[in-house]
């Protein structure tokens, strides 16, 4: 088939150089991948604040054993929407939509994504999805948890539940559109001079992420559409008294939602692989191992979903098979972790905010990953399933992992996006508060779960009160930690120090264009002459004085 030449959709109504743009130009229908990336990031961050406020309300309720601050049904609505917003409207859109859109074309040397209009459309599905979720509070809010298992979800606040389903289907559609775009862009649009082994690891991670989203999201959509039919159109797919089966929903849900946790961490792993070498001033250790391990995680990750159902209606062989497949995921993940640690070795590490968050992620994620491994074994999971031990696990990987990674990415690429540097002192304050808050909030939850506190409860056994109070204090520290960050972003966007095109001395292609980059990214497309992580290689050739480094 002949490939016709298509005009690229250029937003010609805007000046070519973003410096001449007004802020509201970022909030109109625009097909430029950088604008879309920023739109994703900003909207997602707003949802993060909303989801975070819900968490703070929940923690306030949980400060004491009895239900006195929130009505239990409202508590459940907050809980459901906190989880949903954080996953579907914060981490996924920020990591994939935000950083993916902003960086992939810049990193592969393309002028835009393969399908710019589709890209814009994908973004614009997100605000209505969020609006639906928030509006559902007028009908009581969905109350069946972000997992929304029937039969509970078919009989509780059904209007709100239906809105919840539609919101997720919208977000899912957006995610499928985005995946198609990323796959084609990375596959086909890197500059010809870039070899596959010179493709930045972030792009490898995005490729793996997109493949995963592409095959898992539609299955969730099916599960939810059947649920929608059960709620509204009198079918009985999940109604046991009419021949349906509730466990089928769980399979369809987790077939997506386990991979979804990798959707939330693989792009973050990509960010790590970019941030660490630049600030450690070293080539990434084990480029191939990191690239392949993303693909390995993505393949194995499709066959572990039953580890969320070890106490559900699953026969013994399933519990055993999925125990083993789950444990296997630790190996490729470990490869990445060790490679990043090894990248630090022998570096000249610049401990700025971006790097601090990256290093913080390294330690927090390992803790969360290791508790994940204990959950992966059926015997232990039977005890701790649906307890605060699980809540501790996933906040370590999601907050200590994904959110730390998003912060690292923001500190790292803010200068590229805006042309200005973020303030380092505020950044370090933000990091310290976040680190303390994370551990204060989520570390004690391990003990709560092991000792017997179930999750998703608005009232609990008073014996757990003191530990819960610590968690609540931690949550307030976390809420507080946002303030220096917000001040920093808003102030630096207008008044920050001018960054220049390449403030960190990065080697990947996004640093070869101006900050912020032009529409269509480069006047003349760059030619790749060396790898994205070739730090120190020329210096090495030129001299031998590193040797005393080793002896030091």
């Amino acid at each position: 088939m002949a490939q016709a030449q298509l005009p690229l959709d250029t937003p010609l109504s805007l000046p070519e150089h973003p410096k001449a743009w007004k802020w509201y130009d970022y909030f109109t229908f625009n097909v430029d991948h950088k604008v879309i990336g920023i739109q994703y990031l900003v909207t997602a961050f707003i949802f993060y604040l909303i989801g975070g406020l819900m968490a703070v309300a929940m923690r306030t309720e949980l400060a004491t054993a009895n239900s006195d601050f929130l009505d239990p049904n409202l508590y459940n609505a907050f809980l459901t929407n906190h989880g949903t917003i954080m996953i579907f409207l914060w981490v996924v859109p920020a990591a994939i939509g935000g950083f993916g859109n902003y960086l992939v074309p810049l990193m592969v040397g393309a002028r835009d994504m393969a399908f710019p209009r589709l890209n814009a459309l994908a973004f614009w599905l997100n605000p209505p999805a969020g609006a639906l979720l928030l509006a559902s509070f007028l009908f009581g809010g969905a109350q069946a948890g972000w997992t929304s298992y029937p039969p509970l979800s078919t009989i509780t606040a059904t209007t709100a539940q239906s809105m919840w389903i539609l919101a997720i289907v919208l977000a899912g559609t957006s995610s499928i559109m985005g995946s198609v775009n990323f796959i084609v862009t990375i596959w086909k649009m890197k500059v010809p001079s870039m070899r596959w082994d010179q493709l930045p690891l972030f792009c490898w991670a995005m490729l793996a992420t997109s493949l995963l989203a592409l095959v898992s999201t539609p299955v969730l959509a099916v599960g939810l559409i059947l649920l929608l039919f059960d709620i509204n159109f009198g079918t009985s797919f999940y109604k046991p008294d009419a021949g349906g089966n509730v466990v089928i929903y769980q399979h369809l849900f987790w077939f997506y939602s386990h991979p979804a946790v990798y959707l939330m961490i693989l792009p973050i792993f990509g960010i790590m692989s970019e941030v660490i070498p630049v600030h450690a001033r070293k080539p990434i250790f084990g480029y191939q191992a990191i690239a392949y391990s993303s693909l390995a995680i993505c393949c194995v990750g499709l066959f572990v979903w039953v580890h969320h159902m070890f106490t559900s209606g699953t026969p013994p062989w399933m519990r055993m098979f999925f125990t083993i497949s789950t444990l296997i995921v630790a190996v490729p993940t470990g490869v990445k972790i060790f490679s990043w640690v090894a990248t630090l070795w022998g570096g000249k590490i610049r401990l700025n905010s971006a790097m601090l968050f990256a290093i913080g992620l390294l330690s927090m994620f390992v803790l969360g990953g290791l508790s994940g491994v204990t959950l992966g074994t059926a015997p232990v999971d039977i005890h701790v399933h649906d307890t605060y031990y699980v809540v501790a696990h996933f906040h370590y990987v999601l907050f200590g992992g994904s959110v730390f990674g998003l912060y690292a990415g923001i500190y790292h690429w803010f200068p590229k996006m805006t042309g200005r540097l973020l303030d380092e002192r505020l950044g370090i304050l933000h990091f310290i508060l976040t680190l303390i808050g994370t551990n204060l909030t989520f570390l004690p939850m391990h003990e709560l779960g092991l000792k017997g506190m179930p999750r998703r409860v608005a009232m609990y056994d008073p014996q757990f009160e003191s530990i819960n109070l610590i968690c609540t204090i931690g949550a307030f520290v976390l809420a507080f930690s946002i303030i220096p960050f917000l001040i920093n972003i808003i102030w630096s966007w207008n008044k920050g120090k001018i960054a220049g095109d390449n403030p960190w001395g990065g080697l990947s292609l996004e640093w070869t264009t101006s900050s912020p980059p032009l529409i269509e990214n480069w006047k003349v497309l760059p030619v790749v002459t060396k790898g994205p992580y070739d730090y120190g290689i020329e210096q090495r050739k030129g001299s031998t004085d590193e040797d005393d480094d080793e002896k030091e």
């Binding site: 250790f285 055993m320 015997p379 649906d386 590193e546």
Partner: protein, 328 residues
Amino acid sequence: MEQIPASIWTLTAGVVVTLISFWVGHHHGLLPEQASEQAPLVDNFFDIMLTIGTALFLVVQGAIILFVIRYRRRAGEEGDGLPVEGNLPLEAFWTAIPALIVIFLGIYSVDIFQRMGGLNPGDHAMHSMHTPKPAMAVVAEAPSKTTSDATALLAAAPTPEIGIGASPDVQGKAPDVVVDVTGMQYAWIFTYPDSGIVSGELHIPVGKDVQLNLSARDVIHSFWVPQFRLKQDAIPGVPTELRFKATKVGTYPVVCAELCGGYHGAMRTQVIVHTPEDFEAWRSQNQAIATAPVIPSLSDRHVEEMGVTPQLVAQVEAMTHHHSPAKL
């Protein structure tokens, strides 16, 4: 001279990490008291994983901190670090070691699971003798249409093949005590098929092989006794079971672990592990009353009116915590 301290450091670090990990693995005190045959198995396994996990965490954490301090950029320092791009033996090493660890953990968890009885749900020759179940008869009188359909279905349902079954030492044998457990918003109802007793609390004899047949009337619930380390969802339409031996006399909480509505957190009761004599006494005392079992009013509310009132919760709580319905 430079070489020797390095290896000594490594050795010392290794010893320290090992010691700390073992200490943590044995003294963490994070798990509640053990009151079933399965509990020591689970705890042992958890301790092993915690030991390995602590070691891995300390190694990674230690390396990060060490490298960050040692290789941090000092003021005025220019230039790049060492251009090391990989090291095949090292990478093979850190792929192989975790692989070995997870293979070990995988095999070990199958073994533990087998010893817990996890591989044998449905292995109970006795079960079929208990039909028709009095529990079902009572429950089926509930006015709600959907629920009675569901229970009709449940009554006809085959024996559970999901959950924790006979542990190796009782395999092929009938359990000593069978209890039918029904979860509903927001209470557990325990029915003793051979005596007809209906109770809001679970009474079992210590050291006897107990089988719980779990079912749910409205939404999914999950039966959890932290001190037993056992949990199994009670699922509408899917019969499940838990089979175990309690090893310690005492009173332990029964917690609903699956979100089942607004008052999910209040869905708690207790399991009372009696000495065999006490259990017999409890049984004969309650059997008399059990001829006309009363299911409290809470069975006819839920599916229709989901707007649960605080009064109801107070009622449910009072009921489940303070009185056994059999005694009402």
